[in-house]
């Protein structure tokens, strides 16, 4: 299944703004994050098709996953 991953801020380093990759059916968000070498503590905001999502959600063909790193300064 084809999944679009949108990356924000520092997560773009070495990965680009957006990737469309093919994964096995039922691949979870966590598996995708691991395949991109993103440490799980670097996932602060996670959206699946524009809505708040969970790491263990299995994805479907055409889904878009958006990942933001932690931003916490002031």
């Amino acid at each position: 299944m084809k999944i679009k991953v949108r990356l924000f801020a520092t997560l773009r380093e070495g990965r680009g703004k957006e990737q469309i990759n093919t994964y096995e059916d039922g691949t979870t968000v966590l598996q995708i994050i691991e395949s991109l070498d993103i440490p799980v503590e670097d996932v602060a905001i996670l959206l699946i098709n524009g809505r708040d999502g969970l790491l263990d959600t299995p994805l479907a063909e055409g889904d878009t996953v958006s990942i933001f790193p932690p931003v916490g300064g002031g």
Binding site: A9, V43, A44, I45, S66, P70, V71, G74
Partner: protein, 209 residues
């Protein structure tokens, strides 16, 4: 409406300095400025009220003096303490809005919880390098959980630092959100967040539900 409003600003540094300046000039009735820190040479690149002559002085105190200087119609109080479990309730209660100008994720989460308990809306703001986020969180909203999924999150600001323009932009949006809440005008970023990327000029609002 604005003349009767009571706003608490947590943090008088990067975001806080600009927030306080703008709220004072707009003329909010009463401001409570909270910060346990003192000015340091590393603050000079972005903290509005920092200057070479006030290094080592209380950020909250200096900010308070500035408010009195620019608008003596504003009732202002300062608290030179870090906010924590033992003083949060007494500091926050009685305010109409809390503005998050805190510099770390752990305290932001803690304050969000406190505001939920006390029943006050909080205007969240966070910066890291070229990037920033704003959201308006009402009691009952799950926003903070959705903004920081990992309990061991380390903010990227620790690696990137913060240039002067980033807190200025995010603070401006936070102040705009506050004024909209107080005057019941326009639309606030509730159950949403604005993600600002000044490096690539991307400004996008995402829904959190």
């Amino acid at each position: 409406m604005l003349g009767k409003a009571k706003v608490c600003i947590l943090g008088c540094g990067g975001l806080g300095g600009y927030v306080i300046e703008m709220l004072s000039r707009i003329g909010i009735g009463s401001l409570t400025l909270v910060d346990g820190d003192v000015y340091d040479v590393t603050n000079l690149n972005r903290q509005l009220y920092s200057s070479p002559t006030c290094l080592g002085e209380s950020k909250a105190l200096i900010a308070c003096e500035r408010v009195k200087e620019i608008n003596d119609g504003v009732k202002v109080e300062y608290i030179s303490e870090y906010i924590h479990q033992d003083n949060a309730h007494s500091i926050l209660k009685g305010h109409d809005i809390v503005i998050d100008a805190l510099d770390n994720i752990e305290t932001k989460r803690f304050i969000s919880n406190q505001c939920q308990i006390i029943g006050i809306p909080m205007i969240y703001g966070a910066i890291a390098g070229w990037y920033g986020q704003v959201s308006t969180i009402f009691p009952g909203d799950r926003t903070m959980e959705q903004l920081y999924k990992s309990s061991s999150a380390k903010g990227k600001e620790q690696e990137l630092g913060n240039p002067s323009f980033t807190p200025a932009c995010i603070a401006s949006i936070q102040v705009s959100e506050a004024i909209k809440l107080l005057t019941n005008k326009g639309e606030v970023l509730r159950n949403k967040f604005l993600f600002m990327n000044l490096l690539d000029n991307e400004y996008e609002i995402f829904t959190l539900q």
